[in-house]
């Protein structure tokens, strides 16, 4: 004859598991971001153009008041400036030279407008060695 003892009931507490999972959830919620960042890859001058003669370049100064100076000629507004640049030829290298108080967003806007107009060689200032592709 076999005597069977009743098996003790195993109680598994889920409360610690829930605690840990909630802490993980809060951590990832606070530490994550879903911002869709984009990037503009810049090309060092040495890889970009090599030596550029002065005849092949155009200087576009961005002034603090929002106006432009193309070479030594003042131009009001971006579109007239781009039209004047196009008249010189789209194969020229455009040097963008912002004044002291010009915001970087304005420079990016000008570079993109130039790229959209067909200028592929745009450099930031004549002394800076990076150029937007």
């Amino acid at each position: 004859m076999v005597l069977r003892h009743p098996r003790p009931k195993l109680v598994l507490s889920l409360t610690p598991l829930i605690d840990v999972v909630f802490i993980l959830l809060i951590f990832f919620m606070l530490a994550s971001q879903f911002v869709d960042w984009r990037q503009i890859k810049l090309t060092p001058q040495a890889q970009f153009s090599g030596a550029v003669s002065e005849e092949q370049t155009l200087s576009l100064k961005l002034r603090n008041d929002g106006s432009f100076v193309l070479g030594d000629q003042a131009v009001e507004g971006l579109q007239p400036a781009i039209a004047a640049l196009i008249s010189h030829g789209k194969d020229r290298t455009v040097f963008i030279e912002p004044e002291e108080a010009v915001e970087i967003q304005s420079v990016i806007d000008v570079i993109e407008a130039l790229n959209a107009s067909g200028f592929t060689k745009v450099q930031l200032s004549d002394a800076v060695g990076y150029a937007a592709p």
Binding site: L14, L25, Q33, R38, I40, L42, V102, S106, V107, Y130
Partner: protein, 134 residues
């Protein structure tokens, strides 16, 4: 007096299991879809561009953030010019990627000066990080 309620027998499923399942799924969603947020200066207004190249996660990347005043910081700590020179020197020797995350209102000449310094230090890969246009 005996209780009229019937005694429960056998396995009773725990009512919290569906909750745990949902929370675990949320954790997985955040782990898969999110990236760790870089600390940004207060009231940071990111640059915006038409760039269509999504930001690539590169292991050896150093992110420099420039606020609206042109002050550079890395991981929330402001950099002095000496710190910056030392950092760029190290990056140039290691061929790391430099990401510049500038505030839209930051002075362009400060950004250009940073790019010039990066080129002098021999950093081959420099990227400006922006958001898409609104």
């Amino acid at each position: 007096m005996k209780s009229l309620r019937g005694r429960t027998t056998g396995y009773q499923p725990d009512g919290t299991l569906p909750l745990i399942n949902i929370v675990l799924l949320l954790v997985l969603a955040f782990m898969m879809a999110g990236t760790f947020a870089e600390p940004l200066p207060p009231e940071f207004d990111p640059l915006r561009s038409e760039a269509e190249v999504p930001k690539q996660e590169v292991v050896q990347t150093v992110v420099l953030t420039m606020d609206a005043e042109g002050v550079l910081s890395r991981e929330g700590i402001n950099l002095t010019s000496d710190d910056l020179d030392a950092l760029l020197g190290v990056l140039g020797r290691r061929d790391d990627v430099l990401e510049v995350r500038a505030d839209a209102r930051s002075p362009a000449v400060r950004v250009i000066t940073l790019l010039r310094s990066a080129e002098k230090a021999g950093i081959p890969d420099v990227r400006i990080v922006t958001l898409g246009r609104k």
